[in-house]
Symmetry: C3
Subunit: 297 residues, 3 copies
């Protein structure tokens, strides 16, 4: 079902503007290239509005935010929203410092992202104002498990409704929800959490998938610039954003499975990191259709 979403990325080759952290930025660029899209990184406040204007999607990742890049995210987010581009917020470390929580909440309001993607602790911090104590990794108590699945599905739908966005909570089990639906995705491998950047890569890849879905939809090209009045209403769905996000999540998880399967005994974390991007560059729609483990609730 989800395979056509990947094929569309390779056809449309959308351009993704990334304001993302300097830890995993290379992996983000290479993951976006591997699925057939193109990345451009730019965070200087003076140019971000120009850069985002020539792109199809905007990835806002606060992983190594600073006063300059926060201002860059504000301006890019406002401009991308105005132009009806795809906007994603990745609230890395929300809850780990007041600055991160505050910045993520501000961008949520200002840029009204189409997609919010984070781990369970980060999304919980945005939703409930709680604070995490384990940095950028999800606290065990927050994680989605078979035990708390029903409650987490409801939580994801509720938060999606509150922020008028598709919400992806990723971890051992991934949830992709809007107000009415939640995809529960069981692709992926536990060892993906022991390398940095799989979440950041996924955020960039999601941008590409959603932009390609909209490019394929009839009205995707001509969403009008929002007027102040219209700005209060979420942009009408062009293509199905939630399905496209679910496809990106399944695709990344499947790449982790394929990559992990090719590891020799002496190979470990760093090779897995490479194998995931290798797998992304080889996957096509048919492989995704065959490998997705996705349930709709």
């Amino acid at each position: 079902m989800l395979g056509s979403c990947l094929d569309r990325v390779r056809e449309a080759s959308p351009l993704v503007h990334c304001i993302t952290n300097y830890v995993t930025v290379n992996d983000v660029a290479n993951a976006i290239l591997a699925v057939g899209a193109s990345p451009i990184m730019s965070d200087e406040p003076e140019e971000v509005a120009d850069i985002t204007a020539i792109c199809d999607a905007l990835d806002l990742n606060i992983g190594t935010l600073n006063r300059l890049t926060i201002e860059g995210m504000r301006r890019a987010g406002a401009r991308a929203r105005e132009l009806g581009h795809v906007v994603l917020l990745d609230p890395v470390g929300a809850g780990a410092s007041p600055l991160r929580t505050r910045t993520a909440l501000e961008l949520l309001e200002l840029a009204r992202p189409d997609v919010v993607r984070g781990n369970a602790s980060e999304v919980r911090a945005l939703a409930l104002g709680t604070t995490s104590t384990h940095g950028v990794d999800a606290a065990a108590a927050d994680a989605v498990s078979e035990q708390n699945l029903d409650a987490m599905v409801e939580f994801a739908k509720g938060f999606a409704a509150d922020v008028h966005a598709t919400v992806a909570i990723t971890g051992a089990i991934d949830l992709v929800a809007d107000a009415g639906r939640c995809f529960v995705i069981r692709n992926g491998r536990p060892e993906m959490s022991r390398i940095t950047g799989t979440g950041c890569q996924l955020s960039g890849v999601i941008c590409a998938f959603v932009a390609a879905a909209r490019a394929a939809a009839p009205a995707a090209g001509d969403v009008p610039a929002a007027t102040p009045a219209a700005a209060a209403t979420p942009a009408p769905a062009a293509g199905d954003t939630t399905v496209a996000v679910a496809a990106a999540v399944a695709c990344m998880g499947l790449a982790g499975e394929v990559g992990s399967a090719h590891l020799a005994p002496h190979e470990g974390n760093a090779t897995l990191r490479n194998r995931i991007i290798d797998a992304l560059s080889h996957l096509d729609g048919a492989a995704l259709d065959g490998g997705e483990r996705c349930e709709l609730r």
Copy 2:
């Protein structure tokens, strides 16, 4: 013919000061190390003049420019020019925003680089003031092909004459031109364009090759600090810059060929990225002489 240029890099081990983007900076450092030179990264305006003074070459790459690093590039460029060091400008994304185009043009004037390296869209943006619409990748319409080769060779020579520099336009076919000569280089593999950083790596490697060529030339060590009057004249060639740039371009392309040849079926983009640097670390002059596909026009 070009192999001796690589051997000279391994003998001279020049020190290359890089002010480069944070997306591909690790690859740039490792590529410079792989050919036998040493990198140092520094962009803080307060220290760049000191850092560049202990180096042999300066790599100015505007890929993730911001107000601080632009000021760093200005000061480093002015100081390196004053000291007669090798200076290269890599105008990443010129044409994608007014800030990028303006900054690249300013650095061209201020630092009077020995070498300008970019893709066809970037060099065209500098030469003609046109704007690109495809971010940091070359637009298909701009690319050098067998069909437009004669015209592009003339364009490259003309731009080289205008800016008193060696110009490298890299893509499927690479051109390395000064006012009188143009090397057409057909090394490389198409899949190199699907990973980020091969261009940035090449810029760093070119710096090492040109610095080594000058170190091997008799007068290379004692270029006097430019006086305001002398500053208007391009520095006299010590070693052959254009040949050294062509050698670096062929070397990078050949590394891509070697790296690509070693890929297993399940390996893709990320492994190719590693194999290119692996190949750079093994190549020597004899291998480059045997593998170069270089024509002089």
Copy 3:
């Protein structure tokens, strides 16, 4: 002997706050994860005190310092010291510019690090105020060798006494010294110096080892916040910092040996970089006990 230190890292999984350069930051994060700890990167002055408060250790690496990150390092260093956290200073390029030397000396005074790790030129620059001329790599004349070993051991002990810290001077032969003891460690491979980042990774890994050693020691959890009077005295040893540093150094060197042993003939620098992190992710205490080449002087 040293193996239990690695096992403790995997048990305690300490959280390491890194303010580190953007060249090798991804490798630092992945190396910290590979030994079983968790990294968080944050350099914005406004948030570093909050981030460091939820961590166990702080890694201050000046490799690409700028005015903002210097202020971030100051505030994080002061707060981590106040909280009794593990603090490490990695004075990358000290001696290469007055700003680097001055900043490293200032942080040494302000944050009173538990550990200083650098190459011989960097540590010499701190100790003697000399200037290097070879960027971020150690000058050959400074390196520790079998010929100057006795003198370098005395130098390391003397500097450790001066700064009330454990000092790690790493290179072909590694020294880990406090005022009274010096471990001479002969793990590692020469080709590790031809890839960027092994030193930076080691600094991050040392933070994890020392934090885990303290977590395992009875009094580790309740070091009181320093009062101005108490601040003048070095924090009492909880766990043995110098042994933990020696274990981290041997572990990184052994990972280089294991990684190097798995290289195919066509593989080179980039694959070695990956194999080191692969090896870190597989090593356990027993393997470290079996492979350490460590002599106490």
